[in-house]
Protein backbone atom coordinates (compact mmCIF):
# COMPACT_ATOMS: atom_id res chain seq x y z
CA UNK A 1 0.00 0.00 0.00
CA UNK A 2 1.16 3.49 -0.77
CA UNK A 3 1.48 5.33 2.53
CA UNK A 4 0.31 8.52 0.96
CA UNK A 5 -2.73 7.81 -1.17
CA UNK A 6 -3.61 4.30 0.02
CA UNK A 7 -3.36 2.77 -3.44
CA UNK A 8 -2.31 -0.80 -3.82
CA UNK A 9 1.37 -0.91 -4.77
CA UNK A 10 2.22 -4.59 -4.95
CA UNK A 11 -0.09 -7.54 -5.03
CA UNK A 12 0.95 -11.12 -4.81
CA UNK A 13 0.31 -12.54 -8.24
CA UNK A 14 1.41 -15.77 -9.74
CA UNK A 15 4.55 -15.29 -11.83
CA UNK A 16 3.26 -17.92 -14.20
CA UNK A 17 3.32 -16.70 -17.81
CA UNK A 18 2.00 -19.85 -19.45
CA UNK A 19 -1.62 -19.27 -18.54
CA UNK A 20 -1.71 -15.70 -19.95
CA UNK A 21 0.08 -16.98 -23.05
CA UNK A 22 -2.48 -19.73 -23.58
CA UNK A 23 -5.33 -17.26 -23.11
CA UNK A 24 -3.73 -14.81 -25.53
CA UNK A 25 -3.41 -17.56 -28.17
CA UNK A 26 -7.09 -18.39 -27.71
CA UNK A 27 -7.77 -14.67 -28.07
CA UNK A 28 -5.96 -14.56 -31.42
CA UNK A 29 -8.12 -17.41 -32.76
CA UNK A 30 -11.32 -15.78 -31.50
CA UNK A 31 -10.29 -12.44 -32.98
CA UNK A 32 -10.07 -14.03 -36.44
CA UNK A 33 -13.41 -15.78 -35.90
CA UNK A 34 -15.48 -12.78 -34.85
CA UNK A 35 -14.20 -10.82 -37.81
CA UNK A 36 -14.94 -13.60 -40.29
CA UNK A 37 -18.35 -14.82 -39.12
CA UNK A 38 -21.66 -12.96 -39.60
CA UNK A 39 -22.35 -10.66 -36.68
CA UNK A 40 -26.01 -9.67 -36.48
CA UNK A 41 -28.86 -10.13 -38.93
CA UNK A 42 -32.03 -8.09 -39.18
CA UNK A 43 -35.28 -9.70 -40.39
CA UNK A 44 -38.26 -7.62 -41.38
CA UNK A 45 -41.10 -8.34 -43.79
CA UNK A 46 -39.21 -11.06 -45.61
CA UNK A 47 -36.09 -8.96 -46.00
CA UNK A 48 -32.92 -10.19 -44.33
CA UNK A 49 -30.01 -7.85 -43.77
CA UNK A 50 -26.87 -9.69 -42.74
CA UNK A 51 -24.00 -7.71 -41.22
CA UNK A 52 -20.43 -8.26 -40.15
CA UNK A 53 -18.57 -6.45 -37.45
CA UNK A 54 -17.05 -4.01 -39.94
CA UNK A 55 -20.35 -3.24 -41.71
CA UNK A 56 -21.18 -0.39 -39.34
CA UNK A 57 -17.74 1.16 -39.80
CA UNK A 58 -18.10 0.83 -43.58
CA UNK A 59 -21.49 2.55 -43.65
CA UNK A 60 -20.24 5.30 -41.35
CA UNK A 61 -17.50 6.20 -43.80
CA UNK A 62 -19.98 5.92 -46.72
CA UNK A 63 -22.18 8.49 -45.02
CA UNK A 64 -19.22 10.85 -44.90
CA UNK A 65 -18.26 10.39 -41.23
CA UNK A 66 -14.72 9.31 -42.08
CA UNK A 67 -13.03 10.42 -38.88
CA UNK A 68 -15.70 8.76 -36.77
CA UNK A 69 -15.35 5.54 -38.77
CA UNK A 70 -11.58 5.71 -38.29
CA UNK A 71 -11.95 6.19 -34.54
CA UNK A 72 -14.30 3.22 -34.21
CA UNK A 73 -12.05 1.06 -36.40
CA UNK A 74 -9.09 2.06 -34.25
CA UNK A 75 -10.71 1.31 -30.89
CA UNK A 76 -12.50 -1.94 -31.76
CA UNK A 77 -10.26 -3.50 -34.42
CA UNK A 78 -6.77 -2.06 -34.82
CA UNK A 79 -5.83 -1.41 -31.21
CA UNK A 80 -7.14 -4.79 -29.95
CA UNK A 81 -5.28 -6.57 -32.78
CA UNK A 82 -2.05 -4.66 -32.20
CA UNK A 83 -2.38 -5.17 -28.45
CA UNK A 84 -2.85 -8.91 -28.84
CA UNK A 85 0.04 -9.45 -31.22
CA UNK A 86 2.34 -7.28 -29.14
CA UNK A 87 1.38 -9.33 -26.10
CA UNK A 88 2.19 -12.56 -27.94
CA UNK A 89 5.54 -11.13 -29.09
CA UNK A 90 6.41 -10.50 -25.45
CA UNK A 91 4.91 -13.59 -23.83
CA UNK A 92 6.26 -16.26 -26.20
CA UNK A 93 9.96 -15.53 -25.51
CA UNK A 94 9.22 -14.65 -21.87
CA UNK A 95 7.79 -18.09 -21.10
CA UNK A 96 11.08 -19.59 -22.27
CA UNK A 97 13.06 -17.08 -20.21
CA UNK A 98 14.45 -15.53 -23.38
CA UNK A 99 14.37 -11.99 -24.65
CA UNK A 100 13.80 -10.72 -28.17
CA UNK A 101 15.06 -7.37 -29.56
CA UNK A 102 12.80 -4.51 -28.55
CA UNK A 103 10.68 -6.76 -26.38
CA UNK A 104 10.48 -4.36 -23.44
CA UNK A 105 9.63 -1.46 -25.73
CA UNK A 106 6.80 -3.55 -27.17
CA UNK A 107 5.62 -4.39 -23.68
CA UNK A 108 5.52 -0.69 -22.85
CA UNK A 109 3.08 -0.26 -25.77
CA UNK A 110 1.04 -3.17 -24.44
CA UNK A 111 0.70 -1.28 -21.17
CA UNK A 112 -0.04 2.14 -22.67
CA UNK A 113 -2.52 0.93 -25.30
CA UNK A 114 -4.73 -0.68 -22.67
CA UNK A 115 -7.26 2.19 -22.20
CA UNK A 116 -7.85 2.46 -25.95
CA UNK A 117 -8.87 -1.15 -26.20
CA UNK A 118 -12.65 -0.73 -26.15
CA UNK A 119 -14.19 -4.02 -27.25
CA UNK A 120 -15.92 -4.60 -23.92
CA UNK A 121 -17.68 -1.25 -24.33
CA UNK A 122 -18.59 -2.30 -27.86
CA UNK A 123 -20.18 -5.46 -26.44
CA UNK A 124 -22.36 -3.36 -24.14
CA UNK A 125 -23.27 -1.27 -27.19
CA UNK A 126 -24.38 -4.47 -28.94
CA UNK A 127 -26.77 -5.18 -26.07
CA UNK A 128 -28.13 -1.63 -26.10
CA UNK A 129 -28.73 -1.75 -29.85
CA UNK A 130 -30.46 -5.11 -29.53
CA UNK A 131 -32.94 -3.59 -27.09
CA UNK A 132 -33.34 -0.54 -29.31
CA UNK A 133 -34.04 -2.58 -32.43
CA UNK A 134 -36.08 -5.34 -30.83
CA UNK A 135 -39.31 -3.42 -31.39
CA UNK A 136 -38.46 -2.56 -34.98
CA UNK A 137 -37.54 -5.96 -36.36
CA UNK A 138 -36.35 -9.43 -35.48
CA UNK A 139 -32.64 -9.66 -34.68
CA UNK A 140 -30.67 -12.84 -35.18
CA UNK A 141 -27.30 -12.86 -33.44
CA UNK A 142 -24.64 -14.64 -35.50
CA UNK A 143 -21.69 -16.74 -34.29
CA UNK A 144 -19.49 -13.63 -34.24
CA UNK A 145 -21.42 -12.28 -31.24
CA UNK A 146 -20.53 -15.35 -29.17
CA UNK A 147 -16.92 -15.26 -30.38
CA UNK A 148 -16.72 -11.59 -29.41
CA UNK A 149 -18.08 -12.34 -25.93
CA UNK A 150 -15.56 -15.18 -25.52
CA UNK A 151 -12.76 -12.93 -26.80
CA UNK A 152 -13.54 -10.31 -24.15
CA UNK A 153 -13.56 -12.90 -21.36
CA UNK A 154 -10.33 -14.52 -22.57
CA UNK A 155 -8.37 -11.27 -23.00
CA UNK A 156 -9.61 -9.93 -19.67
CA UNK A 157 -8.45 -13.17 -18.00
CA UNK A 158 -5.07 -12.96 -19.78
CA UNK A 159 -4.54 -9.39 -18.60
CA UNK A 160 -5.74 -10.04 -15.07
CA UNK A 161 -3.57 -13.13 -14.66
CA UNK A 162 -0.46 -11.51 -16.07
CA UNK A 163 1.89 -9.98 -13.54
CA UNK A 164 3.76 -7.27 -15.47
CA UNK A 165 6.66 -7.53 -13.05
CA UNK A 166 7.24 -11.12 -14.17
CA UNK A 167 8.04 -9.69 -17.61
CA UNK A 168 9.92 -6.56 -16.44
CA UNK A 169 12.06 -8.72 -14.16
CA UNK A 170 13.59 -10.48 -17.18
CA UNK A 171 15.40 -7.28 -18.08
CA UNK A 172 19.05 -7.11 -17.15
CA UNK A 173 20.74 -3.77 -16.71
CA UNK A 174 23.40 -3.56 -19.46
CA UNK A 175 25.67 -1.48 -17.24
Amino acid sequence: MCRRCGCELVRYQSKDLQRPLALACAGAVLFALFNAFPFLALKKAGLVHQTHLITGIYFLSQQGAHSLAALVALTVLLVPAAHLFALLYVLIPATFNRTLPGMFRVFRWVRTLQPWHMLEIFMLAVLVSLVKLAKLAEIVPGPAVYCLAAFIVVTAAANAGLDPHAVWALWKDPR
Binding site: R3, C7, P115
Partner: protein, 213 residues
Amino acid sequence: MMSSFMTARQLGYLSCSVCHLLCSNCPESGAEERRRCPRCGARLHSRKPDSITRTWALLLAAALFYVPANALPMTTVTALGKAQSDTILSGVIYFIQTGSWPIAVVIFVASVLVPLLKLLILACLLISVQRRSRFRPRDRTRLYLLTEAVGRWSMLDVFVVTILVGMVKLGTLATIEVGPAALFFAAVVVLTMGAAMSFDPRLIWDAGEEIHD
Protein backbone atom coordinates in the same frame (compact mmCIF):
# COMPACT_ATOMS: atom_id res chain seq x y z
CA MET B 1 2.01 12.46 9.99
CA MET B 2 3.56 13.98 6.90
CA SER B 3 7.10 13.12 5.81
CA SER B 4 7.64 10.24 8.18
CA PHE B 5 9.05 8.75 4.98
CA MET B 6 11.14 10.10 2.13
CA THR B 7 9.90 10.34 -1.41
CA ALA B 8 11.99 9.03 -4.29
CA ARG B 9 12.27 12.60 -5.57
CA GLN B 10 13.82 13.82 -2.32
CA LEU B 11 16.36 10.99 -2.51
CA GLY B 12 17.29 11.84 -6.09
CA TYR B 13 15.47 9.06 -7.87
CA LEU B 14 12.58 8.94 -10.26
CA SER B 15 10.39 6.06 -11.20
CA CYS B 16 9.45 5.17 -14.77
CA SER B 17 5.74 5.85 -15.22
CA VAL B 18 5.19 2.70 -17.29
CA CYS B 19 7.41 -0.05 -15.88
CA HIS B 20 8.22 1.49 -12.45
CA LEU B 21 11.97 1.01 -12.80
CA LEU B 22 13.70 3.26 -10.31
CA CYS B 23 16.22 5.48 -12.13
CA SER B 24 18.67 7.91 -10.61
CA ASN B 25 17.79 11.54 -11.16
CA CYS B 26 21.25 13.03 -11.29
CA PRO B 27 21.58 16.12 -13.51
CA GLU B 28 24.58 14.61 -15.38
CA SER B 29 22.38 12.07 -17.09
CA GLY B 30 21.12 14.74 -19.50
CA ALA B 31 18.27 17.23 -19.73
CA GLU B 32 15.06 15.92 -18.26
CA GLU B 33 13.09 16.16 -21.51
CA ARG B 34 15.43 13.86 -23.40
CA ARG B 35 15.92 11.07 -20.90
CA ARG B 36 14.29 7.71 -21.47
CA CYS B 37 13.81 4.69 -19.27
CA PRO B 38 16.66 2.22 -20.00
CA ARG B 39 14.28 -0.70 -19.72
CA CYS B 40 11.12 0.17 -21.61
CA GLY B 41 12.12 3.37 -23.43
CA ALA B 42 9.34 5.54 -21.97
CA ARG B 43 10.13 9.22 -21.36
CA LEU B 44 11.27 9.83 -17.81
CA HIS B 45 10.03 12.79 -15.88
CA SER B 46 9.62 13.51 -12.24
CA ARG B 47 6.38 15.36 -13.07
CA LYS B 48 4.60 15.22 -16.43
CA PRO B 49 5.75 18.22 -18.53
CA ASP B 50 3.35 21.20 -18.68
CA SER B 51 0.74 19.00 -17.05
CA ILE B 52 -1.54 21.82 -15.92
CA THR B 53 -1.44 23.76 -19.21
CA ARG B 54 -2.04 20.70 -21.34
CA THR B 55 -4.86 19.43 -19.19
CA TRP B 56 -6.57 22.84 -19.22
CA ALA B 57 -6.26 23.05 -23.02
CA LEU B 58 -7.76 19.60 -23.60
CA LEU B 59 -10.41 20.18 -20.97
CA LEU B 60 -11.59 23.50 -22.44
CA ALA B 61 -11.73 21.99 -25.93
CA ALA B 62 -13.81 19.10 -24.56
CA ALA B 63 -16.15 21.49 -22.72
CA LEU B 64 -16.67 23.42 -25.95
CA PHE B 65 -17.55 20.26 -27.88
CA TYR B 66 -19.85 19.06 -25.12
CA VAL B 67 -22.48 21.65 -26.12
CA PRO B 68 -23.02 20.60 -29.78
CA ALA B 69 -22.65 16.95 -28.75
CA ASN B 70 -25.80 17.27 -26.67
CA ALA B 71 -27.70 19.83 -28.71
CA LEU B 72 -27.34 18.37 -32.21
CA PRO B 73 -28.94 15.11 -33.38
CA MET B 74 -26.99 11.90 -32.88
CA THR B 75 -28.95 9.85 -35.43
CA THR B 76 -31.60 10.46 -38.08
CA VAL B 77 -34.01 7.59 -38.63
CA THR B 78 -35.83 7.54 -41.95
CA ALA B 79 -38.71 5.08 -41.90
CA LEU B 80 -41.28 4.93 -44.71
CA GLY B 81 -40.39 8.40 -45.91
CA LYS B 82 -40.61 10.02 -42.48
CA ALA B 83 -37.40 11.34 -40.97
CA GLN B 84 -36.86 11.67 -37.23
CA SER B 85 -33.77 13.06 -35.52
CA ASP B 86 -32.69 11.99 -32.07
CA THR B 87 -30.31 13.68 -29.67
CA ILE B 88 -28.68 11.81 -26.79
CA LEU B 89 -31.31 12.98 -24.32
CA SER B 90 -34.27 12.24 -26.56
CA GLY B 91 -32.88 8.71 -26.91
CA VAL B 92 -32.84 8.38 -23.13
CA ILE B 93 -36.41 9.71 -22.91
CA TYR B 94 -37.48 7.21 -25.57
CA PHE B 95 -36.15 4.34 -23.45
CA ILE B 96 -37.91 5.65 -20.34
CA GLN B 97 -41.20 5.92 -22.21
CA THR B 98 -40.95 2.41 -23.62
CA GLY B 99 -40.18 1.04 -20.18
CA SER B 100 -36.56 0.01 -20.68
CA TRP B 101 -35.43 1.65 -17.45
CA PRO B 102 -32.06 -0.11 -17.05
CA ILE B 103 -30.97 0.78 -20.58
CA ALA B 104 -32.07 4.38 -20.08
CA VAL B 105 -29.97 4.57 -16.91
CA VAL B 106 -26.92 3.01 -18.60
CA ILE B 107 -27.06 5.45 -21.52
CA PHE B 108 -27.75 8.46 -19.31
CA VAL B 109 -24.85 7.63 -17.00
CA ALA B 110 -22.38 6.77 -19.77
CA SER B 111 -23.09 9.61 -22.17
CA VAL B 112 -24.47 12.51 -20.12
CA LEU B 113 -23.40 12.14 -16.52
CA VAL B 114 -19.88 10.72 -16.87
CA PRO B 115 -18.58 13.30 -19.39
CA LEU B 116 -20.10 16.16 -17.40
CA LEU B 117 -18.73 14.93 -14.06
CA LYS B 118 -15.38 14.31 -15.67
CA LEU B 119 -15.18 17.89 -16.93
CA LEU B 120 -16.18 19.25 -13.51
CA ILE B 121 -13.88 16.97 -11.49
CA LEU B 122 -10.82 17.65 -13.65
CA ALA B 123 -11.50 21.41 -13.51
CA CYS B 124 -11.79 21.25 -9.70
CA LEU B 125 -8.57 19.24 -9.42
CA LEU B 126 -6.71 21.68 -11.66
CA ILE B 127 -7.92 24.69 -9.69
CA SER B 128 -7.07 23.05 -6.38
CA VAL B 129 -3.55 22.23 -7.61
CA GLN B 130 -3.02 25.74 -8.94
CA ARG B 131 -4.14 27.23 -5.64
CA ARG B 132 -1.76 24.84 -3.83
CA SER B 133 -4.64 23.51 -1.80
CA ARG B 134 -3.88 21.04 0.98
CA PHE B 135 -7.49 19.94 1.24
CA ARG B 136 -7.86 16.14 1.56
CA PRO B 137 -5.21 15.10 -0.95
CA ARG B 138 -6.01 11.42 -0.50
CA ASP B 139 -9.64 11.84 -1.58
CA ARG B 140 -8.64 14.06 -4.48
CA THR B 141 -6.24 11.35 -5.69
CA ARG B 142 -9.01 8.76 -5.47
CA LEU B 143 -11.32 11.05 -7.43
CA TYR B 144 -8.68 11.38 -10.12
CA LEU B 145 -8.14 7.62 -10.39
CA LEU B 146 -11.89 7.12 -10.67
CA THR B 147 -12.30 9.65 -13.50
CA GLU B 148 -9.39 8.12 -15.35
CA ALA B 149 -10.83 4.62 -15.12
CA VAL B 150 -14.45 5.44 -15.94
CA GLY B 151 -14.02 7.88 -18.84
CA ARG B 152 -13.65 5.38 -21.65
CA TRP B 153 -17.13 3.95 -21.07
CA SER B 154 -18.59 7.10 -22.60
CA MET B 155 -17.68 5.69 -26.02
CA LEU B 156 -20.78 3.51 -25.61
CA ASP B 157 -23.06 5.83 -27.55
CA VAL B 158 -20.64 6.16 -30.46
CA PHE B 159 -20.55 2.36 -30.77
CA VAL B 160 -24.34 2.11 -30.53
CA VAL B 161 -24.64 4.55 -33.44
CA THR B 162 -22.09 2.53 -35.43
CA ILE B 163 -24.02 -0.69 -34.92
CA LEU B 164 -27.38 0.93 -35.72
CA VAL B 165 -26.03 2.49 -38.90
CA GLY B 166 -24.74 -0.88 -40.04
CA MET B 167 -27.81 -2.81 -39.02
CA VAL B 168 -30.70 -0.76 -40.27
CA LYS B 169 -30.40 -0.81 -44.00
CA LEU B 170 -33.71 -2.16 -45.21
CA GLY B 171 -33.89 -0.68 -48.68
CA THR B 172 -36.64 1.92 -48.75
CA LEU B 173 -38.22 0.69 -45.52
CA ALA B 174 -35.85 2.19 -43.01
CA THR B 175 -32.36 3.63 -42.78
CA ILE B 176 -30.41 5.29 -39.98
CA GLU B 177 -27.87 8.01 -40.61
CA VAL B 178 -25.25 9.48 -38.30
CA GLY B 179 -25.94 12.96 -37.05
CA PRO B 180 -23.35 15.69 -36.56
CA ALA B 181 -23.40 15.20 -32.78
CA ALA B 182 -21.71 11.80 -33.01
CA LEU B 183 -18.37 13.27 -34.06
CA PHE B 184 -18.54 16.03 -31.43
CA PHE B 185 -19.40 13.44 -28.83
CA ALA B 186 -16.51 11.18 -29.83
CA ALA B 187 -14.24 14.23 -29.66
CA VAL B 188 -15.43 14.96 -26.11
CA VAL B 189 -14.59 11.40 -25.03
CA VAL B 190 -11.15 11.36 -26.65
CA LEU B 191 -10.27 14.85 -25.38
CA THR B 192 -11.32 14.14 -21.79
CA MET B 193 -9.37 10.86 -21.87
CA GLY B 194 -6.35 12.84 -23.05
CA ALA B 195 -6.94 15.44 -20.35
CA ALA B 196 -7.10 12.78 -17.65
CA MET B 197 -3.89 11.19 -18.94
CA SER B 198 -1.97 14.46 -19.08
CA PHE B 199 -2.90 15.40 -15.52
CA ASP B 200 -0.27 14.36 -13.01
CA PRO B 201 -1.79 13.28 -9.67
CA ARG B 202 1.59 13.77 -7.97
CA LEU B 203 0.97 17.51 -8.27
CA ILE B 204 -1.80 17.10 -5.69
CA TRP B 205 0.81 16.07 -3.12
CA ASP B 206 3.42 18.69 -3.95
CA ALA B 207 1.60 21.47 -2.07
CA GLY B 208 1.81 19.61 1.25
CA GLU B 209 5.44 18.70 0.73
CA GLU B 210 6.87 22.18 0.11
CA ILE B 211 5.90 23.35 3.57
CA HIS B 212 8.00 20.61 5.10
CA ASP B 213 11.09 21.18 2.98
